[in-house]
């Protein structure tokens, strides 16, 4: 059996080196084509969506007569059910396709919708005492709401399992649910869900309390603790704010086939998502995407507007219809990260050993309520009591945001631990190291990483106790955090073809969401075949190629590098079999190195790559590799990483303005394919982390129910001048490389908020409870400290 294992360190010529991204020249020069840049050969129609001005309203009627009659309007589609309820401002009501954007906008304005406005909530402030209700079984309406509100599947499944349903879902109804977007897993869970009598009065409280969870004996731990530290921590709802907004261009080359250019993290998955609502087989749907301008977890699914573009195109005789979201819609409806806040108490002994955790947490993920953050994060504190209240409100749906729930959990947990350290006058590094045995399997990694990070930050030299590094108006401070993530490779298939003329191509239905997937693929294929990277021709981003998983949860590098490695090894073995006779050797004696195929240990018996490939014959070599592939060990990917980050900040004590001066990120991720891209991933994550720590917040107005800062002036993103010195160190070598490839998209974005929050507390001597750390919050915290 061929040896699929990754080459050993001395055998690698490309893997683990610093190699520049293949797509960088195209991106910086503007040659890279995004979905917005796609211009079909024939005349295109412009789609526009009419959106609800109300945060919650019943749709009484939708009259599109005037829009239909407008010259230049080619198709109109009503999206909402009459009698249905919209749950957030900006929800899709109807759409038109017209010959130009102006006409489409005019047509949208001509649609007459009658709403019955309903009471709504957009706040995620701490639930009033006694307001929360225990969750009950789901009614049919609840299920419709959950589907319409895009409740995350895992949360949906857990809810059904725990609380059951208060109706009997017949197959006909299940089919309708499916048409509305419910997955097979959800349908299955509905079939299996336990039946309970409907609960209560019918009007639901927006505050839904999850059952309290207890572990160990928290009462005893707190009674016996020599120190108890208390605090409030949290982080606001933020949006994904993809620089390329969501959307697609759909066209029907014939009445049975759909061709979609869509901004997606999930090229291979889109056809089956669109098939049901459009009533065509997934096999008849082709999806293409060259480049994507950001997804961050918000682009896993074909969205309602994408389905609508396809429907409008069909109505318009198959002419291409483009719907890309405007900036305000992008911020209002195309994804938000749930908020999470908590009142926390931590119990410890005098030496800093943590013995107990109590938390009352709350937060919102929009109409679905949102999941509870995994607190205490990383540290499994022996005695715990936790209560979480989910707020179901009308701010719009939540979507996965890089490392879902982890950044929030880090802010809460690391903040609480940092306050404990301050209370007992301990350097946080010492407190973290003291309790590292609570972190589980990555304890040793964290230990090593603390050593590296501390040196890179010069922590021991620079650190001062809280509030003791103030000169004039400027306070300086250091903070730290740690994090973990899985990152095992997803299911992936890849074809490697070696042609008789020596050309090599790699075909895989994955996507490069900006993490350097193209570069990874080329490095793995080139390394395996002993060729330079330029010799590999890549074909990705199309459903014509073998299916590969969605790019989310840091699963892409492990998945695609494994499938590509396996395919390339298989192709190489097939080549050896063809070439062996010419070299008077057995295939097992051959190797590919330096653009040759040669006999191992006998440099005299060698063919150039081109000569070797001429032995292939008329039919190219084609090999399919897949991940996972349990029949062909070893496993080439792995799961579980740890990272440590430190922040150095300065705070203007008179204005409350925070500047980050330096950040250090130390991270492991198994075998690194391209060190430069891995480091870049961390730079990007730190940049995004600084942005959400200091600036980002989805500001909702209770009086109007709308998002007030759905633009890029007041939805602030960090700019070039706001990014300080970033120092990244990747853990490599023995103990890391042999674990196989692990993804890196999520881990480094988890800790920046926590580390920066802790650094600000260290600088100014008091905790600023919530991110973003805006001047009003910093000044308020300083005011409270002065008043205390």
């Amino acid at each position: 059996m061929p040896d699929f294992a990754w080459p050993t360190a001395e055998d690698r010529s490309l893997i683990g080196k610093r190699i520049s991204r293949l797509d960088s020249p195209d991106k910086v020069s503007g040659r890279a084509k995004y979905n917005y840049d796609y211009h079909p050969s024939g005349p295109m129609l412009f789609g526009k969506v009419l959106r609800s001005p109300h945060a919650k309203a019943k749709i009484l009627s939708v009259d599109t007569t005037a829009a239909q009659k407008m010259p230049g309007v080619e198709a109109v589609e009503v999206i909402q059910k009459i009698g249905g309820t919209v749950q957030w401002a900006g929800d899709e009501i109807a759409a038109v396709a017209a010959v130009d954007e102006g006409t489409a906008e005019e047509a949208i304005r001509a649609i007459n919708v009658k709403y019955e406005p309903l009471a709504y909530l957009v706040s995620d402030a701490e639930p009033p005492a006694g307001s929360a209700e225990a969750p009950g079984p789901m009614s049919e309406d609840d299920v419709w709401d959950a589907i319409d509100n895009q409740m995350p599947e895992r949360q949906f499944l857990e809810y059904l399992k725990e609380h059951g349903v208060s109706f009997h879902p017949e197959e006909d109804l299940l089919k309708q649910f499916k048409g509305d977007g419910a997955s097979d897993a959800i349908l299955d869970a509905l079939r299996k869900a336990a039946y309970h009598e409907p609960s209560g009065s019918g009007t639901r409280s927006p505050y839904q309390k999850a059952a309290a969870t207890t572990q160990g004996d928290p009462d005893k731990a707190f009674a016996e603790a020599s120190v108890v530290s208390e605090g409030v921590y949290g982080t606001s709802v933020i949006t994904h704010c993809c620089l390329e907004s969501h959307g697609s261009t759909a066209e029907w080359p014939d009445k049975d086939h759909l061709f979609v250019h869509i901004s997606t993290q999930n090229v291979s998955g889109v056809p089956s998502q669109m098939a049901e609502p459009l009533g065509v087989p997934a096999a008849n749907i082709r999806v293409h995407q060259d480049h994507i301008g950001g997804g961050f977890g918000s682009k896993f699914s074909a969205d309602r507007w994408d389905i609508t573009a396809a429907k409008l195109s069909r109505k318009a005789g198959g002419r291409p219809v483009r719907i890309m979201l405007e900036r305000d819609a992008e911020l209002k409806v195309a994804g938000a990260r749930p908020s999470a806040y908590a009142r926390v108490k931590v119990a410890a002994s005098k030496d800093g050993s943590i013995t107990g955790w109590q938390s009352q947490s709350w937060g919102t993920g929009g109409p679905g309520g949102g999941g509870s953050p995994p607190i205490p994060y990383v540290f499994s504190i022996p005695n715990q009591r936790k209560e979480h209240t989910a707020i179901r409100n009308n701010i719009g749906p939540a979507r996965a945001w890089r490392a879902p729930n982890h950044p929030q959990a880090a802010v809460i947990t690391m903040g609480a631990l940092d306050d404990l350290a301050a209370k007992i006058n301990m350097d946080p590094i010492d407190l973290w190291l003291k309790n590292l045995s609570l972190t589980g399997p990555r304890q040793k990694v964290y230990e090593e990483e603390f050593g590296v990070a501390s040196d890179l930050m010069d922590w021991k030299q620079k650190w001062r106790p809280r509030g003791q590094n103030i000169s004039g108006n400027v306070a300086r401070g250091l903070g730290l955090s740690l994090h973990t993530w899985g990152g095992r490779g997803h299911a992936s298939q890849c074809d490697v073809n070696i042609h008789p003329d020596g050309s090599v191509d790699v075909k895989i239905g994955t996507q490069d969401i900006g993490t350097g997937t193209r570069t990874t693929l080329a490095i793995v294929a080139a390394e395996t075949l002993g060729l330079p990277i330029e010799a590999i021709k890549l074909y990705i981003g199309d459903t014509q190629y073998p299916p590969s998983g969605a790019s989310g949860g840091s699963t892409t590098p492990g998945g695609v590098s494994s499938s590509t490695r396996r395919a390339a090894v298989e192709a190489r073995e097939a080549l050896f079999a063809k070439v062996a006779p010419a070299l008077n050797a057995t295939p097992e004696q051959l190797e590919c190195k330096d653009k040759t195929v040669r006999v191992k240990g006998d440099s005299g018996r060698s063919l150039s790559w081109k000569e070797a490939c001429s032995k292939i014959g008329a039919v190219p070599i084609t090999a399919r590799g897949k991940n996972p592939d349990k029949e062909h060990p070893p496993d080439l990917t792995n799961s579980g990483v740890g990272g440590v980050q430190m922040a150095d900040v300065e705070v203007d004590m008179e204005t409350g303005i925070v500047k980050v001066r330096k950040m250090v990120a130390v991270q492991d991720c198994g075998l690194i394919i391209d060190l430069k891209t891995a480091e870049s991933s961390c730079y990007g994550a730190l940049t995004m982390g600084i942005s959400y720590a200091l600036f980002e917040e989805k500001v909702m107005d209770q009086a109007t129910g709308t998002m007030l800062n759905a633009n890029m002036e007041f939805y602030r993103l960090a700019g070039y001048n706001d990014i300080p010195e970033l120092v990244v160190h990747m853990m490599t070598g023995k103990g890391y490389d042999e674990r196989g490839v692990i993804g890196l998209g999520e881990p480094p974005v988890i800790s920046p908020g926590a580390a920066i929050s802790n650094a600000v507390a260290n600088a100014i001597g008091v905790r600023v409870s919530y991110l973003p750390l805006t001047p009003d919050r910093v000044l308020a915290a300083l005011g409270q400290k002065a008043g205390a």
Binding site: D328, T655, V699, A703, T704, F714, A718, D722, P775, D776
Partner: protein, 327 residues
């Protein structure tokens, strides 16, 4: 964006007749950095745009013993590079360099900067300049007012004046010149900004058929001046509070003073109280602080913006110290 007529006159006379002819429905287009955004967001929908960029007499800076005459079409980038401004009007130069982004400064004109509409997020969401709900309740007073006015906010207007250049110009005693169907008029720049009382009033003393032609700055070679801007981001961001100060010194004593705050009120806010507090004193941490306290003494913060009182105070203090020669 809705359909509109487009006219591109080459003389002020033509421009005025084009403005007047489309009664109520014409707007002046210069750099377009604000107007086009307002049109895209459907906040304004003019029937006609009158592009004045082809009227060359409105562009450029002229220097004489009487000071500077700055044409309304001069871009912020050109102004920031102007040798006279760099040499004699350092508060203005600083304000220009901190305004918007390099790309916007290349397009935005001085006239447009003064006539831009407030950034109030209720206004920009189409809820009006003096936003109210259906029952007439003031949306800002009880709503999301963290960036709104702390001074001059007794009436229905609670937005803040958006020009970060105007306070510096006013501190130097700038005058603005306008032209309309009935001829030219000139007024002190601080009088050009008014607080609207009703939704159909504007925040400028500018009639629908008038055009800003130039801004006149008195000589400033022997003055001390400084501008200080507080904002959250270093990169492109709107300020949270600004202050511009101009002092006539007699030895080390302030003989006369103008202190103007930005982003604190519906107009640039000329603080007579701060000026009086510093006149007759030398510039020191103590006198600067006293003047800064005087500047915000009348402040009445809304439910969420008490912190802006502190920011305005700090901006004034730091501007005074900067003018006095501190870093």
């Amino acid at each position: 964006m809705r359909a509109f007529e487009y006219a591109s006159p080459t003389s002020t006379k033509q421009a005025l007749s084009l403005l007047g002819a489309a009664s109520g429905g014409a707007l002046v287009l210069a750099g377009g950095t604000d107007l086009l955004a307002l049109m895209k967001d459907d906040i304004v929908h003019p029937k006609r745009l009158v592009n004045i960029k082809e009227i060359r007499e409105l562009d450029g800076v002229a220097s004489s013993s009487l000071g500077l005459r700055i044409g309304a079409l001069t871009t912020l980038a050109d102004l920031a590079d102007n040798v006279n401004i760099v040499k004699d009007y350092s508060a203005l130069a600083d304000a220009l360099n901190e305004a918007a982004s390099p790309q916007i400064r290349n397009m935005a004109t001085l006239g447009g900067n003064l006539c831009q509409r407030p950034r109030c997020w209720y206004f920009r969401n189409g809820l009006g300049l003096l936003p109210k709900d259906q029952s007439g309740k003031d949306l800002v007073a009880t709503g999301e007012n963290r960036y709104h006015a702390i001074l001059g906010n007794d009436g229905p207007a609670k937005f803040v004046s958006p020009s970060s250049i105007a306070p510096a110009l006013i501190a130097y005693g700038a005058k603005i010149r306008l032209i309309g169907p009935n001829g030219k008029r000139e007024l002190p720049l601080d009088k050009f900004f008014v607080i609207p009382k009703t939704e159909d009033q504007r925040e400028h003393d500018l009639k629908r058929d008038e055009i800003v032609t130039e801004v006149v700055l008195p000589p400033a070679a022997d003055l001390k001046s400084a501008h200080y801007e507080i904002r959250q981001k270093d990169a492109f961001d709107w300020p949270l509070a600004t202050a511009a100060v101009v002092f006539q010194m007699s030895g080390s004593t302030v003989q006369s003073a103008r202190v103007v705050m930005g982003y604190v009120a519906p107009t640039p806010w000329l603080s007579e109280e701060a000026a009086q507090a510093i006149i007759g004193k030398s510039i020191s941490e103590e006198t600067a602080k006293a003047a800064a306290d005087a500047a915000v003494q009348a402040a009445k913060p809304l439910s969420q913006n008490a912190y802006k009182v502190q920011l305005a105070r700090v901006a004034v203090k730091r501007a005074i110290l900067k003018a006095g020669g501190a870093a």
